[in-house]
């Protein structure tokens, strides 16, 4: 579904992505692991069109996304739940959702989708008039996910959704990720929490210093000794 090939993105002279290629399969959860500073967020921002790559291509079902504005990319069906959530703090929960549907003009359908989000995330219904900035971290993450879904994306990109959240909330987020995927959403997930990711993802990539250094299934990932040591630590029963 989403094909990234030989992508190079640089900040001035420093190349954060040094020729990244990967494939996100339709209706699966694909997870990108990697340490801090590996270039994971840069990759997400490049796919979303916020950053311009120096070269390479990003294709969504055959359409080239490189060179399109972020707004066009959203219209093509890619939505990013950014790192640190970035909800609109001075807008109500409902307004955040409506902003998520900014590219759409089907008013009746938008209202149906808002209702769907409220059903999936009951907390948001309770707080629909509240300003997003006053929500808890977990609620903001739910809102960020719901906001992204409001554009009816073909691929949902999620940049470290578990960042800074309490373990229980992380578990909730991951169960929502599985649920969304069961309903047919293609998900491309960036994570540092490899234990949680192992439980939901179908396909893994490992990124180190701007390059993809591993590709495989959860089984292969768990077997790889180097990855075991670096990212999974001594095996514990993950929460």
């Amino acid at each position: 579904m989403l094909d990234v090939s030989d992508l190079v993105t640089a900040y001035g002279k420093i190349e954060a992505l040094k020729g990244v290629s990967l494939h996100v399969e339709s209706e699966k959860i694909t997870c990108l692991l990697g340490p801090n500073g590996a270039g994971k967020t840069t990759l997400m921002m490049t796919i979303a069109g916020i950053l311009q790559p120096r070269r390479g291509s990003i294709r969504l079902g055959g359409t080239e996304l490189v060179g399109l504005s972020p707004a066009r990319i959203v219209a093509r069906g890619v939505a990013l739940v950014p790192e640190n959530r970035l909800v609109f703090p001075q807008m109500s929960v409902l307004e955040n959702l409506l902003a998520g549907a900014y590219q759409r003009s089907d008013k009746a359908e938008i209202n149906v989708d808002v209702e769907r989000m409220y059903t999936r995330f009951p907390h948001l219904r309770e707080r629909h008039q509240q300003l997003a900035g006053t929500l808890s971290g977990g609620e903001q993450q739910m809102l960020a996910v719901a906001r992204a879904l409001m554009s009816r994306p073909r691929v949902l990109l999620m940049d470290e959704p578990s960042l800074g959240l309490a373990p229980l909330v992380v578990a909730e987020i991951f169960s929502i990720i599985s649920e969304l995927n069961r309903d047919g959403t293609t998900i491309f997930l960036v994570e540092q929490n490899a234990h949680m990711a192992l439980q939901v993802a179908h396909q893994f990539f490992l990124m180190e210093q701007g390059r993809i250094t591993f590709k495989g299934t959860p089984g292969q990932l768990a077997e790889d000794e180097v990855i075991q040591r670096a990212y999974l630590g001594t095996r514990r029963t993950a929460g």
Partner: protein, 298 residues
């Protein structure tokens, strides 16, 4: 006592023009988080366009008003394209200095077109006044007040009731996130800039029609008055802009009445300074966010 109330009325009337100027400023600053020093000079360019039409073609007040608003909006777009759109995140101070450079440019352009120091500007309602018991209100002042309140309401409704307003508030909240939900941020910013300059144009037309003259110095005057009223009212607040303007007008009229013309501006600046030190958020604003135009912050 009659004097006191008459002064207050006059202050509110004059202040409504400050409020209008602050309104445009507030929209630009709210959306961009950057200071457009060329705001006043853009309005001045509109004023010159209006005067040229008036002097050379005998245009009536409505045509002149349209020309001022259009001229201000066009000059505003020019400033946005040159000083704001190309600047990267974190270059807020470069935008500000750049808009100052364009201020100099616009001022000289006006002088090239009309080299004398002042030119006549058509009045709106010459000296006509309404009487309310012992009090007088000039009709052109009253139009100014109505326009200020009406436009403030229109801005507020646009911000909170329309799709465009939703986009602007999303940009104000988080420019990157606004991109991510599919808002065309650059276009929305350009539109907001043009609209804000047009609002300034309305203010400019009304003030010039009351003064019945235009000079290149009008640009500096408009930037300063708009800026002061905006800061007193509170950065980024639409009601704050109007109330800040009215308050500035009232303070000025009373100061002038009791202490003389030189103290009018002095006391206005003292109040501004006191506000900034004691309550930086102004009347309606929130606590200041530290990195608004600090040069180094990304």
């Amino acid at each position: 006592m009659v004097d006191f109330f008459q002064n207050t009325i006059d202050g509110v009337m004059i202040g409504s023009s400050y409020g209008l100027l602050a309104l445009g400023f507030t929209v630009i600053f709210g959306v961009m988080r950057r200071l457009n020093l060329s705001y006043g000079p853009s309005i001045m360019i509109g004023g010159y366009l209006g005067t040229v039409l008036y002097l050379n073609h005998g245009a009536g007040p409505l045509v002149v008003a349209g020309a001022v608003v259009l001229g201000a909006a066009i000059a505003g777009v020019y400033v946005e394209r040159l000083c704001f759109a190309p600047m990267k995140a974190g270059a807020g101070i470069a935008s500000m200095v750049s808009s100052f450079a364009i201020w100099m440019q616009l001022e000289q352009a006006a002088i090239l077109v009309l080299p004398r120091h002042t030119y006549p500007f058509p009045p709106l309602a010459t000296g006509a006044t309404l009487e309310f018991g012992p009090f007088f209100v000039r009709i052109d002042h009253l139009i100014m007040l109505v326009c200020a309140l009406g436009l403030a309401a229109a801005v507020q409704v646009t911000l909170y009731r329309t799709r465009f307003g939703l986009a602007l508030r999303a940009i104000i909240g988080h420019p990157v996130a606004a991109h991510l939900v599919g808002i065309n941020v650059r276009r929305a910013m350009l539109l907001a800039f043009a609209a804000a300059s047009a609002i300034g144009g309305v203010a400019g037309f009304l003030v010039l029609a009351v003064d019945q003259q235009v000079t290149p110095m009008f640009g500096m005057w408009a930037t300063l008055k708009g800026l002061i009223a905006m800061m007193i009212g509170g950065l980024g607040s639409v009601p704050g802009a109007v109330v800040g303007g009215l308050l500035l007008g009232v303070i000025e009229t009373h100061s002038q009445w009791y202490f003389g013309p030189q103290f009018r501006d002095l006391i206005a600046y003292v109040v501004l300074f006191a506000f900034l030190v004691a309550r930086p958020g102004g009347l309606f604003g929130r606590a200041p966010s530290p990195d608004i135009t600090t040069p180094q912050k990304a």
